[in-house]
Symmetry: C2
Subunit: 364 residues, 2 copies
């Protein structure tokens, strides 16, 4: 059984099907969504061998001519060069405007293949089959696609909404445990920014936060998709509300940059970023210390880091990176702060000395 979340865009809607075993229903979803008869499946060297054959079989069974392109696993594949290779692969696979690109993998594959789909013939349809928890609750919804430049992440890309997302939590059983935990950081984030009840589910299930067999996982993922879908529908092009999804990300991105994207998984950096934002929120947005501690406890239960000590990261690097953030205005970083669990405000400018003080506290 799948939970289906419909994302309402201005011109159309698309389904996100969430449920155990749904990858075996991909062909059926493809047919229902009236997708094309030719597909380029983009995957990576980790995921391709595990789920590539299933996806190919699903598509070929309904008569879709399927070509698979495999890129090396890891962020290092999110480059202009790989993206260009996919454009040529699309030509060789005979894709036309009615064809489809399918991303089978985590955030890297989704961003890369999504940007390839956004630009091939000025845009063809896109299907996301996310295989990490992070991609299921975050990067497969919302239409952000892109690649990195040598000087920064996601500096080049496009907004390109998928036509279908199929999220099957069963595939998370093959996901490395550390990746799973990192994905849980984004689930926790949704609780903090929008949904106190979801947050309470996480608190109540603290002992199961690292277990991909947890029975409520389907429901959690579907809820996160629903929340993100609502935010995206309200703000497709990131004018305002959508900024709240960046809770914990201002410092998170900066930590990733300051460690050359090698020190942390994204979700780990975001976990530290949420701990930082929680403390800023206590000082600047009236968050109670009790609620701050509830957040820190859930992060700990999920096996996530909440301190930046012992990383050898200099404040000068961190503040420089935060000032270069895409959300910065005139090089002054902006923050999302929590007023309570489930309620945030965004675009908050914070005095430099407070930023430094709170950093010192979590980094000492």
């Amino acid at each position: 059984m799948a939970s289906v979340v419909y994302v309402e865009l201005r011109e159309r809607r698309y389904p996100i099907a969430v449920g155990r075993g749904q990858i075996e229903q991909l062909g059926e979803w493809w047919r229902q969504t009236e997708l094309g008869r030719r597909a380029l499946v983009v995957t990576d060297t980790n995921v391709g061998p595990l789920y590539g054959p299933t996806v190919r079989a699903q598509l070929e069974a309904i008569g879709v001519a399927t070509t698979v392109a495999t890129v090396p696993a890891g962020e290092a594949s999110k480059t202009i060069e790989r993206w260009a290779q996919l454009q040529y692969a699309a030509v060789e696979a005979g894709l036309d405007r009615s064809s489809v690109m399918l991303a089978l993998g985590g955030g890297v594959v989704g961003d890369l293949a999504g940007f390839a789909a956004a630009t091939f013939l000025r845009g063809i349809r896109m299907v996301q089959v996310p295989t990490t928890l992070l991609a299921m609750v975050d990067s497969s919804v919302g239409g952000k696609t892109g690649v990195d430049l040598r000087c920064g992440k996601n500096l080049v890309g496009a907004f390109h909404q998928p036509s279908l997302v199929v999220a099957d939590p069963d595939v998370l059983r093959t996901l490395p445990a550390r990746e799973y935990r990192a994905g849980m950081a984004e689930v926790i984030k949704y609780g903090v920014i929008l949904d106190a009840a979801l947050f309470e589910t996480l608190e109540a299930g603290a002992a199961r936060l690292t277990d991909p067999s947890w029975a409520v996982l389907d429901e959690l993922i579907a809820n996160c998709c629903r929340l993100k879908a609502e935010v995206v529908a309200a703000d497709e092009r990131e004018g305002g509300l959508r900024a709240i999804l960046n809770f914990g990300h201002t410092l998170g991105h900066a930590l990733e940059a300051a460690t050359g994207y090698e020190g942390f998984l994204h979700g780990e950096a975001v976990a530290i970023g949420m701990a930082y934002a929680a403390e800023l929120s206590v000082r600047m947005a009236g968050l109670s210390p009790v609620e701050r501690d509830r957040l820190l406890n859930v992060l700990r239960a999920a096996g996530l880091p909440i301190r930046a000590s012992g990383l050898g990261v200099e404040w000068a690097h961190v503040i420089a990176a935060m000032s270069l953030d895409k959300k910065a205005a005139d090089r002054v970083p902006r923050f999302v702060l929590a007023e309570a669990i489930g309620r945030v405000r965004h675009g908050v400018e914070i005095p430099p000395d407070v930023l430094k003080e709170v950093w010192d506290a979590i980094a000492e």
Copy 2:
């Protein structure tokens, strides 16, 4: 004095200012349009030396931090590699989401810089200052951007609408005469597909069609922009109506491809394509031979080719290229045909023997 055409998009509108001397009003237009305080001007080695200093002075006079990036003149610059260089140039110039890219040049610069603007930080604002007649009446309006792959033109790109277009016919005095004539092909096209009165103006001014000092040129350009703007507003993403803009382009693109993009200027290939489409129209769409001859006469008066003889182009190459056209459906080429001067239908499939017969007639 400028004629101003407003292009109505779903979410916003933007002005096209057409008039002699308007390049000296760029700063004023920039201010009125409330554009950003930092700009990357993209130009080429032909146009940069002529008008780069004027554009820079206009922007700096109103406090816009301006960096100029110059690419080699010619279609060979419309590559992924040049586009990637512009992304890095944008980083080095310190562009953020509130910044602007300005394309100063013809269609190549407009397409390249437009695609760079469409993708930098997932899209920043774009200003077009077209310096060819073709770019003024065609490629600067409508939001199509992109680059070529080794295996075909415009295979990679995005739809990205400008925020401002400033078209100054005075700059056409420095345009090579052959480029000017080629641009006139697109002006003639607008008459055929949408505006019999415009076509009659061209007929009446047959002796001035190759003269950039022609007094009605401002008005002609503004009319073409208005016509294209109406079509684009009605069909921003090219679902239907917009296809009529491709009158003459099915064969035109194929001739360009078959000659390795070296035999013709775009407008010249389109002129032959229009002659071809006119003959197809007589046979398949009820165009009168008299009206076909009026079109051929105007093309001749504009100094444009109307026959494909003596080019050494093989039909097999032409039909193969037409079948790969982005407008083709399941590899069957579709044509825009004229029912009369000023009225066309689109998406017409034509029996292969008719395509071949009419080709033989214009190629013999």
